[in-house]
Amino acid sequence: MSACAQDFADFALRSVGMGQFKLPAGDMTLCRQVVLIGSGMIWNLYFGALSLAIGFCLATGLALAKAGGIRWLRVPAEAFIFVFRGSPLFIQFFVAYQAFVLLPREGIEIFGATLPTAWLSRAWAGALIVLILNTAAYSAEIFYGALRNVPRGDLEAADAYGLSGWARFRRIVWPTALRLAWPAYTNEAIFLFHATTLVFFSSFPAFRQQGDALYYASYIVDKTFNPFVAYPIAAVYFILLTLCLIGIFGVFNRRLNRHLPGAAQRPRYRPNLIR
């Protein structure tokens, strides 16, 4: 038990560079594997939560641009969504990484100031940017579909109340669209968190072996030649993460549906394969 506590102290924050620097190579106890893979989950949470939050804002703008009537906004938004939804995330990571690597290492001169570029080829920034753009495209398509499905009656009621423009959007269109989009958006969030496992398998180097859960799981499998322990541990972590996500999104779902009797009681998660 004390050995396990020691492992926890050594490796629980290993993925962010704290604790023991040298990864265990020979003796892989179960406790050690659980701690190390759990440490990697920090990166999955970081990538997932941040890209979800920023991607949500970007997706709102994109969905409005696509649904709106202004041509020079609609066409770029459609093109963006087409490119990011039509190509594999794996390839997007590769393209982005290679493009970031090609930037001059000493930075770009703009108006006399030097913009550093080296950080872009690091996973914490480069992969995050790709994930943000990717989830923004998928979410924008979901929100766009929801915006088009806002019931006509709701809009007529808003007109009757004298709401227009920004007030109508903020108080009627947006909450209704979000309510309609929420089950699909829950699904997208789950897929996004699952997609974060790709980061360290797609060119982005794990700086000082600070990787995500699957990076450590595959490291352990490489060392022990035993896939039957490490991968199931990672799988259990992700099942727990998925359950947490469903719970959190369920809370939002109840809040969005709180005016509808009956609908709020059962946050049924019907898994659709949106991606």
Binding site: F94, N226, A235
Partner: protein, 293 residues
């Protein structure tokens, strides 16, 4: 390929590019697009079969079979597919070798010795004396099985949803005509479920297309492998020296996938139109109005 390519250093401009793009390695690169298409062609029907089995199992009257079906359909929801892609091939490989080692080797020698997985030469799969193509197709087969298991689970989700979407009245009518459970499934449920399954299945096809570059993770020499290999910086001692061109190769792959998904979407739209003809759905009504305004 061309006679003029015998001395690449003497060439420049378009002639150099033409020779460069037809070099032996590039032909292998073009061939690897075939590998991707082959994977799609083999995996799609296999996954549909797995999914069908899973969907039928999750509706079974026999409890253990039903549990199996439910777990199978639920597992891909909680666990990232990449974990399965990494786990299934190595797990299958070790299982096969373990089974063979019990037959061909001395059973008293344990297979797991510390951090090693050791089987005797005779139990190796494929045998170390086998031709390179055997090794490659063995790896490819394991990859196909991994893809089929994961996408079969996705398909089982879609198909069981579609089976539940077939209107109750249709099934009750069939029961009233005295059809047995079996007849009902074969003659009413399965023919009617496809129109409900199509949106999900077409989505799945898109997901499958976009999952094919993951073959690279399984050590297959696929398009990602060749793009990395060919695009990397080639110093002057190579026949065709060039700087780091990987970003261009990957942009090429991006365009390839965009084309694949775009063409698929066009085809799916046509099939969807076809299937909704004469159906009592909104899409079917829309077609009816077009024909008879």
């Amino acid at each position: 390929m061309f006679a003029t390519c015998s001395d690449p250093s003497a060439l420049n401009g378009l002639a150099w590019l033409a020779c460069y793009l037809t070099s032996g390695k590039h032909l292998l690169f073009y061939g690897s697009f075939g590998t991707v298409l082959l994977l799609l062609a083999v995996t799609a029907p296999l996954a549909l079969l797995f999914g069908f089995g899973g969907a039928v199992a999750s509706r079974s009257r026999i409890a253990p079979l039903r549990w199996f079906g439910r777990i199978y359909t639920a597992m891909v929801r909680g666990v990232p597919d990449i974990i399965f892609f990494l786990f299934v091939p190595i797990a299958l490989d070790q299982s096969f070798e373990w089974l063979r080692s019990r037959v061909y080797c001395d059973p008293s020698v344990p297979v797991r010795q510390g951090n090693e997985f050791v089987v005797c030469q005779a139990a190796k799969l494929p045998l170390s004396t086998a031709a390179p193509w055997v090794h490659q197709s063995y790896g490819f087969t394991l990859a196909v099985i991994a893809f089929a298991i994961v996408f079969g689970a996705f398909a089982a989700n879609v198909l069981s949803g579609a089976m539940n979407a077939v209107p109750r009245a249709q099934l009750e009518t069939a029961e009233a005509y005295g059809m047995s459970e079996r007849q009902l499934t074969r003659r009413v449920l399965i023919p009617q479920m496809w129109t409900y399954a199509l949106p999900g299945l077409s989505n799945l096809w898109m997901v499958l297309i976009k999952a094919t570059p993951l073959l690279f993770l399984l050590g297959i020499e696929d398009i990602v492998y060749w793009a990395r290999d060919l695009g990397a910086t080639k110093p002057a001692n190579f026949a065709y020296p060039h700087p780091d061109w990987r970003v261009w190769y990957f942009l090429g792959l991006l365009v390839f996938y965009l084309l694949m998904t775009w063409v698929s979407q066009r085809l799916i739209d046509r099939v969807a139109r076809r299937l909704s003809r004469g159906q009592a759905t909104m899409a079917g009504e829309a077609i009816r109005h077009e024909v008879t305004p």
